[in-house]
Amino acid sequence: MMDKRVASIAEALSGVRDGAVVLVGGFGAVGQPNMLMDGLAEQGARELTIVANNAGWGRETGIPRLMGLGRVRKIVCSFPKGSVIFDELFRAGKLEVELVPQGTLAERIRAAGAGIPAFYTPTGVGTRMGEGKEVREFAGRSFLLEQALQADVALIEAWRADRWGNLTYRGSGRNFNPIMAMAARLTIVQAHDVVELGELDPEIVVTPGIFVDRVVRVARE
């Protein structure tokens, strides 16, 4: 019987290694896998590269907590502003940052999941983001070459899941989660509800289970 469900956050995160590239779902606080992030802090992996749209808020949970514990070597994101910890570490030169336009970030993740090594985009041409990147013209317009963003681990928040790893999302909590689930070698999901196989209407499954490795149920916060 194929069963991707695991019993605990600790089990869900076992095997995440030092130096891993970790995709973290969410846009603002919505769709962030907070329990998995807290679990990763407990798990102890170091020298992590975190890929997320935002660098979080406050200090106590999520990406800021990991940064505060000194576990993050590099962050790849589009909008780090708002995180006090990020600000402190960045100013102190203790954190490497790769700033990526939001749509380019999304497409680099999608491309990784889709087996596309690189792609051309109009975003960032003629700006600081284009510095050092290949520019090519198509039909008289210039485009930047951007590379897929391969990752070791994806941490995902879903609304409902089944034991095969099929997922649904809620509201704007979908955001980066479905494409991040596709792009990592190990995709770990926290779901608010885990239902029996067959209970999710195939018409509404957003992430098919093929992209998912582990599912852990979490209590609604």
Binding site: A29, V30, R110, G126, R128
Partner: protein, 223 residues
């Protein structure tokens, strides 16, 4: 100088600027509104005119903020503020959302800016070449992707420095992308020959407007 030329004019306040911009959005357009003042544009669409608002985090058919007792924590806009879904709304992931943006499917994007140049260059993401905490978000994708890019901003800085310029002094968000600028004083179209005046507030002369603009203002050609 500024006080003298402005004495008889009535600059628009932020509400007035948003309302002026909304007059030019036709029914049926798909529109993305940037964070900040652009977001308030949605509040001025007259009842009965169907305009579909897009939010970069995966919403089409976004509605106004809910009452405090009806907040759904799983529904936020690009500024991370609580919103609602209108009948006909759709939800999607980030790659699809930016496919809509980059793929030219949106009719209009409205952004704020620090500066707009007469060739349509926009600078709106950082005011420094060595910004200590940089952030870009979706601005660069929005600026190159939508069919029309309109900027809503004050005509000058608080210190009176023009924001409409020949060349942007701040790092660019995108080159040659702005179609139109709505300020507290005027509406200007970006054309092949530069800024062309479409509208000006009551009591302000074109000469006075020119003194607050660091690029030439052209009058529309009459055919």
């Amino acid at each position: 100088m500024k006080d003298i030329v402005m004495a008889s004019a009535t600059p628009l306040d932020r509400t007035g600027m948003a309302a002026r911009l909304v007059r030019d959005i036709p029914e049926g357009w798909y529109v993305n509104l940037g964070v900040g003042m652009p977001t308030t544009v949605a509040d001025h669409v007259p009842p009965g005119r169907e305009v579909v608002f897009h939010s970069e985090n995966g919403i089409l058919g976004m509605g106004p903020a809910p009452s405090p007792d009806a907040v759904d924590p799983w529904l936020v806009n690009a500024g991370k503020k609580a919103v609602t879904l209108l009948p006909g709304a759709a939800l999607f992931h980030h790659a699809d959302s930016f496919a809509m943006i980059r793929g030219g499917h949106l009719d209009l994007c409205v952004l704020g800016a620090f500066e707009v140049a007469e060739n349509g260059d926009i600078a709106n993401w950082t005011t420094s070449s060595n910004d200590i905490v940089p952030a870009v978000g979706g601005a660069m994708d929005l600026a190159v992707g939508a069919k029309q890019l309109w900027v809503i901003m004050e005509h000058t800085t608080k210190e009176g420095r023009p924001r409409l310029v020949e060349h942007c002094s701040y790092p660019l968000t995108a080159p040659g992308s702005v179609n139109r600028v709505y300020t507290n004083l005027a509406v200007l179209e970006v054309t092949a020959r530069g800024f062309e005046l479409l509208d000006i507030v009551a009591g302000l002369t074109i000469e006075a407007l020119q003194t607050m603009t660091a690029a030439k203002i052209h009058l529309p050609r009459t055919t």
